[in-house]
């Protein structure tokens, strides 16, 4: 029986699409058959993060409007042939798909895939409502930053209104040095306000930038802390009990350099 996840956040730029790409690839690396659905119609990016931007023939709108069957629109990953992307249109906008259409599509996809991961756009309008419609579980991504947490709280409320009760939290772009010096919200602060089960804590990692440049998600990199954190999230999604990482903070030499730089 397949599982449908939606990756959402409210706020833009906290790492939904990066998370979608990494979790999708991680599950595929562990042998599962995965389809990633981009619903950020008009501003698509999931194809870029996977390096598949040149292979798009048809998109989500072609499928929901009945022009092609979904199989024709799926883009298979270059390296992992059990990982597929269903891209969206860059020409239309989010009013082009409604919740019922996505639910119907996911009902078909369920028959073929172990995991369906839906990348939700920022905001709380039609795009969001459509993306969450078919999901069994919502993963809310946030950052240890006041406006991101506030938006996450609003999103959790909206998810509740839509009767999506199965919600887990991923805290992204954590900077351990700032948390330690009290310049960044820590997990207790965030937990206090959001009161959600946390399924992942991902540190800020420059390797995420370079992997986006290359179109290869950082979960494939052995030496990336963010990659390791994503691998842990994938394990937890598959029911394994993995303790949260201790982050490598900058050693005192690096901190000394920072002081002189100022």
């Amino acid at each position: 029986m397949s599982e449908i996840y939606v990756i959402t956040s409210g706020k833009g730029g906290v790492g939904k699409t990066t998370t979608t790409a990494n979790l999708g690839m991680g599950l595929a690396m562990r042998g599962k058959k995965v389809v990633l659905v981009d619903t950020d119609t008009g501003l698509r990016n999931l194809d870029l993060l996977l390096g598949l931007e040149n292979r798009i023939m048809y998109d989500l709108i072609d499928v929901t409007e009945g022009r092609v069957p979904y199989k024709k629109a799926l883009v298979r990953h270059k390296k992992y042939d059990n990982l597929f992307l269903l891209p969206t249109s860059q020409v239309k906008d989010k009013m082009a798909v409604n919740p019922e259409q996505l639910v119907k599509l996911c009902d078909e996809l369920r028959k073929e895939f172990d995991y369906i991961i839906i990348d939700c756009p920022a905001g709380i309008e039609q795009g969001f409502k459509t993306a969450i419609a078919a999901a069994d579980t919502a993963l809310v991504v946030t950052m240890p930053e006041i406006s991101a947490v506030r938006d996450a709280d609003k999103i959790i409320g909206e998810l509740g209104r839509a009767d999506k009760e199965n919600i887990k939290l991923i805290v992204n772009r954590i900077r351990p040095n700032m948390v330690e010096s009290g310049d960044m919200l820590n997990m207790d602060d965030i937990n206090d306000i959001l009161s959600l089960d946390c399924i992942g804590q991902v540190p800020d990692d420059i390797k995420v930038v370079t992997s986006t440049n290359k179109g290869e998600p950082c979960i494939t990199l052995e030496d990336s802390q963010a990659g390791q954190a994503y691998r842990n999230i994938v394990a937890r999604m598959m029911g394994e009990d993995v303790p949260f990482m201790e982050f490598h903070k900058d050693g005192w030499w690096k901190r000394l350099k920072h002081i002189f730089k100022r």
Partner: protein, 224 residues
């Protein structure tokens, strides 16, 4: 025949309405108006009325809510629940939520002032963007997060942390008060007075109560 258009069931939460499946919105509205204007004993001022969520469109539901409000009743929507679900729900709401930090008995002072049948109970955390407006008192078993809002005719009791906007005695009752385990709201209002909390607010370690004394809103620590 016209009686069957709107069916009323009394529950401890309030009056639960259900509508005949083939009744048009106009029929229902007319029927309700008749009942409200007849001064029927069902519809006393301050009573909570629950209407099913999915029978009518949003604009029609809004109209019904306005109708009730004009006659001094509070109208909320809910999914139609079966008898068993209703009974189970009532059982669950009697038990306080696990997230409340200490298990404490209800403060004796509050018990006298908050009458059970006029209290709205919210058994979860209120999230940013959510809003409760009622003529009665409110009990929240959970937090009130920044961006959430409670406007109550009566008093407000929060078993958790209050970081949102709370307004007690909103319809003129200046004896109304606000209690919370951690009172750190963006804004407190009681009746027509407003108080803003200091910009740098540390998390308080004692429960506090806000009330009007000598024409001002004062905040005092209390034992819970």
């Amino acid at each position: 025949m016209s009686e069957d258009i709107v069916k009323i069931k009394g529950t401890s939460l309030g009056l639960q309405l259900s509508f005949a499946p083939d009744a048009s919105f106009e029929d229902v509205r007319a029927n309700l108006l008749k009942k409200l204007e007849s001064g029927s004993t069902f519809f006393l001022r301050g009573t909570l009325v629950l209407i099913p969520r999915d029978v009518f469109r949003g604009s029609e539901r809004d109209e019904l809510q306005r109708l009730f409000h004009e006659h001094g009743l509070i109208c909320r929507t809910q999914r139609p629940v079966s008898e068993e679900e209703q009974a189970a729900k009532m059982q669950a709401e009697k038990r306080p939520q696990a997230e409340v930090k200490q298990a404490q008995p209800e403060p004796p002072a509050a018990k006298e002032e908050l009458q059970p049948q006029e209290m709205v109970v919210i058994n979860r955390t209120l999230r940013g963007g959510q809003e409760i407006t009622t003529k009665s008192s409110v009990l929240v078993c959970g937090n009130v997060n920044p961006g959430a809002q409670i406007i109550a005719g009566g008093s407000i009791d929060i078993r958790g942390t209050c970081r949102g906007m709370v307004h007690a005695g909103a319809y003129g009752d200046s004896t109304a008060f606000i209690i919370a385990d951690h009172l750190m709201p963006t804004q407190i209002r009681i009746s027509n007075l407003i108080a803003r909390c200091p910009d740098e607010m540390e998390k308080t370690d004692r429960a506090e109560r806000a009330s009007i004394k000598d024409g001002q809103i004062v905040i005092e620590p209390i034992e819970r």
